[in-house]
């Protein structure tokens, strides 16, 4: 399991990837573009403090340890052989595939999978190869799944790895120098989703992120550098440049017909562009007066709204067509809430009717987007 970068670069699980495709979750994705940067109260620690923290965490159990049961399919081969003896992909037989297919995919199994890896490690203490594989898995669990940076760093350092993930741990633990110390060695980002570029941007170093992106452009037909550059610009609210880069991701031509990594990056770019246009750069004062219609997929099929803008205000919002069966309240509440807030972005959904409510918000966003010059 070589690549930490992709999971690290966005915390989008497969679930979120798909939701992005379906685009119902436009709202959820876009409302928080600056989340990683919300560093108002960032802790800053000295090198000494960080190293002590890592050692202490590595030697102690996480606080959830006792509340999480050890659970795994009884069919698993706990000796964790590598490569697996059979060619067949079987997550109920092979430990690595179990982690990949089942633990990684389900948020509520993250802790359970981590505990399980400790268990496998202890069982195979004598076998150095297996211990190494388990340690890699643990570093992955703590970093990518649990975001327990101290423990992730502990296992990374134990493995002697000096990579983007470890740099990220240092940054997250409050020491930028240590992170930079690792990142500086990366002259070209070969990763699939531009992890090093993203970390530079996360640390507030837009210039260095862009420089690395420029150096990494075109090393593979994945569109990764442009994607990461787009994300970096977006983080700094420079939407025009961000969209430029996303467009470049979409323009990448692949040599292979089955370039799944490029496809993945392109979906990301497409969702980001739409989200920037509909939400982040939304400005009511720029919407021409008029009546607009828009639709979005809701609980039970497409939902259509009609929004009227007059004198720089959202004068009216109406759900004109829908086939929802449940929760009529959100059908009447949401338009009122949108009009009251004069915005569709930070409106709370009606409890228990989030799908319908989000669809109304998306549909309003799409309707109003038509009113822009």
């Amino acid at each position: 399991m070589s690549a930490f970068a992709p999971r690290f670069c966005t915390r989008l699980s497969t679930g979120a990837r798909v939701r992005a495709l379906v685009s119902v979750a436009l709202v959820a994705l876009s409302l928080n573009p600056l989340s990683a940067q919300s560093d108002g109260q960032r802790v800053v620690r000295t090198r000494q403090e960080v190293l002590e923290l890592i050692e202490r965490a590595g030697a102690s159990k996480p606080d959830w340890w006792d509340s999480v049961p050890l659970e795994y399919p009884e069919t698993l081969d706990l000796s964790f052989p590598h490569p697996p003896p059979s060619k067949e992909w079987d997550p109920r037989l092979n430990v690595g595939q179990f982690m990949w297919s089942i633990i990684n995919e389900n948020e509520n199994r993250f802790r359970q999978g981590t505990k399980f890896m400790h268990f496998v490690l202890k069982r195979n203490e004598g076998d150095r190869q297996v211990v190494k594989r388990c340690s890699e898995q643990l570093a992955h669990c703590y970093h990518d799944l649990l975001q327990d940076w101290a423990r992730a760093a502990y296992w990374k350092r134990k493995l002697g790895a000096k990579d983007v993930a470890l740099a990220n741990c240092y940054w997250q633990l409050g020491n930028k120098e240590m992170a930079v110390g690792i990142l500086e060695w990366i002259k070209v980002d070969y990763s699939r989703y531009g992890g090093a570029i993203k970390l530079w941007a996360d640390m507030g170093e837009l210039e260095r992120a862009l420089a690395l992106a420029a150096a990494s452009t075109g090393v593979r037909d994945w569109g990764a550098a442009h994607r990461a550059a787009g994300d970096a610009y977006r983080k700094f609210a420079r939407y025009e440049e961000a969209v430029d880069h996303y467009q470049k991701v979409l323009a990448v031509k692949s040599k292979s017909d089955n370039n799944l990594i490029l496809a993945h990056n392109q979906v990301h770019a497409r969702v980001a562009i739409e989200s920037i246009q509909l939400y982040e750069t939304f400005d009511l004062s720029k919407v021409q007066p008029g009546t607009y219609e828009g639709s979005a997929p809701a609980y039970n099929g497409d939902l259509h709204v009609r929004a009227t803008v007059a004198q720089g205000r959202i004068a009216d919002v109406q759900v004109i067509r829908h086939t929802e069966k449940q929760f009529y309240s959100s059908l009447s509440d949401m338009p009122v809430k949108v009009i009251r807030a004069q915005d569709f972005r930070n409106v709370d959904a009606t409890t228990g009717a989030t799908v319908t409510a989000d669809a109304i918000k998306s549909a309003v966003a799409r309707a109003l987007a038509q009113g822009r010059p």
Partner: protein
């Protein structure tokens, strides 16, 4: 003892010295005198009643009670059992309960009261299931009450009877062409029908619901009127399709009404098996009855007034059919009719005893035979189709079929029509029983209405905490599932399940692409849904989501790719004990197994 409450004819002479009732004297004292009749001149009250119709004029109290009872039935059916007044709470963070709360808040009278009052419901289900059914208490109560007012249920309370009266007023009396008269052996049809139903019940097959008064009415309403309410109030797209079973039931319902074309209350007089049960009760322990005194002048007005054909040629009473509605009393110009204790024989015109058309032994034998044949025929009809998914907390299937009276109350109370009536696909045995149609909608986590309105306990009336963990089926992912088949990402079912709070579907990455070393490539493959069997309750929300979006809206699948199945091991069908207890025991077992596994290694952090 005098039970008279009819409004005397103004022609009736008052015997000297007889006191008016206290209530009447008070009314006289405090209300304007224009309301009251003077000598032969009608007062305003009487005029108003006369305008409503002769039956109102003769026995207004009875009509008032009928009206109130019918209004209550209407309110219970169309208001209490209308789930859509529920709105999810804005504040609670825990398990939602808005549908359950909504029903409780509207149930100031139990929604199933009328069904429980139909004594045939309690008695037949109890015999068929060989168990005490709580509706029997009500059956006992109403039969006891009817010792005082024989067949009073039919004349005063039964909403089907009132509806038939309305039908006769609006349509029946205007169409003369089908009117018939005369009596024959068929006047006892109701007894034979009752016998057949009880024999079949003894044979373990419940057919009472096909003919018992209240189930016939509620089912008629549920199939013919409830869709109108739903369509008008919430949109026609919410009304599920009709099947043959629906149409047959609606036809039967209108058939019952149409019998009124032959003569008023034809159904009640001659066919209704619930009525037969009251008549029998009447036969064994009635305390009061209608009597005719010697002052009778043979004018025949009472025969004309009687809606139940309960007055013989000689103006004496067919006691088993008389509902004590007292319309005849009010119509009598000489005050010759009285409603008194059975043993009262003062001034009697004639004895009442003889029965003109005897019950026939052959009729009963035929009925019994019919009952036996039905019980064998229906019972032996094996079902080849898939086992239907029953409502949550249904009792075991055999008992379920013996208890389900096919009243349709659960369909009415079910939000989003998850429960729909089976047609003939499960054999006659399962006709009109409820099944979960998960393609249409999923069972709402906040609702336990079906059990609450079930009059017989076929669906158990347990609190939401129980329903939350009671398994009605098990969802299974079909091979054509989009991500499982490697076609496209989709997580409708997972999201739906998580939003409902069950978290019973999780992901498994399938078809990952492997590099040269056999290692999976990040970002490849599809996250396919996997059902966690011990968390799935079979609510069908997943199936509904997949069907609506992938099949109906996007047409990318021919059928839902996640389907709820019932059957042994997939559902909890228990008649006693709680579902939380079942889950607790399973948990216990799991924990024990886990502890054993841990002990061998000690602390492994």
């Amino acid at each position: 003892m005098r039970l008279n409450h009819f409004l005397e004819s103004v022609h009736a002479s008052r015997r000297a010295g007889l006191q008016r009732p206290t209530l009447y004297r008070w009314a006289r004292k405090y209300l304007p005198s224009a309301l009251f009749s003077q000598a032969r001149k009608l007062g305003l009250a009487r005029k108003a009643l006369a305008a409503l119709g002769p039956s109102w004029q003769h026995a207004p109290l009875r009509r008032l009670i009928q009206t109130a009872s019918f209004a209550l039935f209407f309110a219970l059916f169309f208001y209490t059992c209308w789930p859509y007044t529920a709105t999810p709470s804005e504040t609670t963070s825990g398990w939602p309960s808005h549908y359950a709360d909504d029903l409780v808040s509207k149930e100031w009278v139990e929604a199933e009261s009328f069904l429980a009052l139909d004594p045939l419901v309690g008695i037949a289900t109890s015999i068929a299931d060989r168990e005490w059914v709580w509706a029997l208490t009500w059956a006992g109560a109403i039969l006891a009450l009817c010792a005082l007012i024989p067949r009073g249920f039919c004349g005063y309370l039964c909403p089907l009877g009132t509806l038939i009266d309305l039908f006769d007023w609006a349509i029946g009396k205007r169409i003369a062409r089908f009117r018939s008269s005369g009596r024959g052996g068929w006047v006892h049809l109701k007894y034979y029908l009752l016998a057949a139903i009880l024999v079949a019940a003894a044979g373990g097959v419940l057919i009472a619901g096909y003919a018992a008064a209240i189930p016939v009415l509620t089912r008629g309403f549920a199939f013919a009127l409830a869709p109108l309410q739903l369509g008008l109030a919430r949109g026609w797209y919410q009304v599920p399709d009709f099947n043959v079973g629906h149409l047959v039931s609606i036809a039967l319902f209108f058939g019952v009404l149409a019998l009124g074309l032959l003569r008023p209350r034809f159904w009640c007089r001659y066919v209704c098996p619930t009525g037969a049960l009251f008549s029998l009760g009447n036969f064994f322990f009635r305390v009061s009855e209608r009597k005719v005194e010697t002052s009778c002048i043979d004018c025949g007005l009472c025969v004309e007034a009687c809606p139940f054909d309960a007055i013989k040629e000689d103006f004496t009473t067919r006691t088993l059919d008389c509902t004590l509605c007292q319309t005849c009393g009010g119509s009598c110009p000489t005050k010759a009719i009285k409603f008194v204790e059975r043993w009262n024989t003062t001034h009697l015109k004639a004895d009442d005893d003889e029965r003109e058309v005897p019950l026939s032994r052959r009729g009963f034998l035929a009925a019994a035979f019919g009952g036996i044949v039905t019980s064998i025929g229906v019972g032996a009809h094996g079902t080849d189709g898939p086992i239907p998914v029953r409502p949550p907390m249904s009792v075991p299937e055999d008992a379920f079929l013996d208890l389900c009276i096919r009243c349709g109350a659960c369909f009415k109370a079910c939000p989003n029509s998850v429960l729909q009536a089976m047609s003939f696909e499960g054999g006659l045995d399962a006709l009109w029983t409820p099944k979960v149609v998960a393609n249409w909608s999923g069972c709402d986590p906040s609702c336990n209405n079906c059990g609450q309105v079930c009059p017989t306990g076929a669906i158990r009336a347990l609190p939401l905490e129980e329903k939350k963990v009671a398994r009605m089926g098990l969802a299974e992912v079909e091979p054509h599932c989009l991500p499982l088949a490697g076609k496209e990402p989709c997580q409708l079912c997972v999201d739906e399940c998580a939003a409902a709070g069950y978290d019973a579907i999780e992901f498994e990455l399938v078809h990952p692409q492997l590099d040269d070393q056999g290692m999976p490539i990040e970002g490849t493959g599809f996250a396919a849904p996997v059902v966690v069997a011990d968390r799935c309750v079979g609510c069908g929300l997943c199936q509904s989501a997949c069907y609506r979006i992938n099949t109906k809206s996007r047409s990318v699948l021919h059928a839902s790719a996640i389907v709820v199945y019932a059957g042994p091991g997939k559902e909890d069908r228990i008649a006693e004990g709680t579902y939380t207890e079942l889950r607790r025991r399973e948990d216990e077992q799991r924990r024990t197994r886990r502890r054993e596994a841990l002990d061998e290694l000690g602390d492994f952090y």
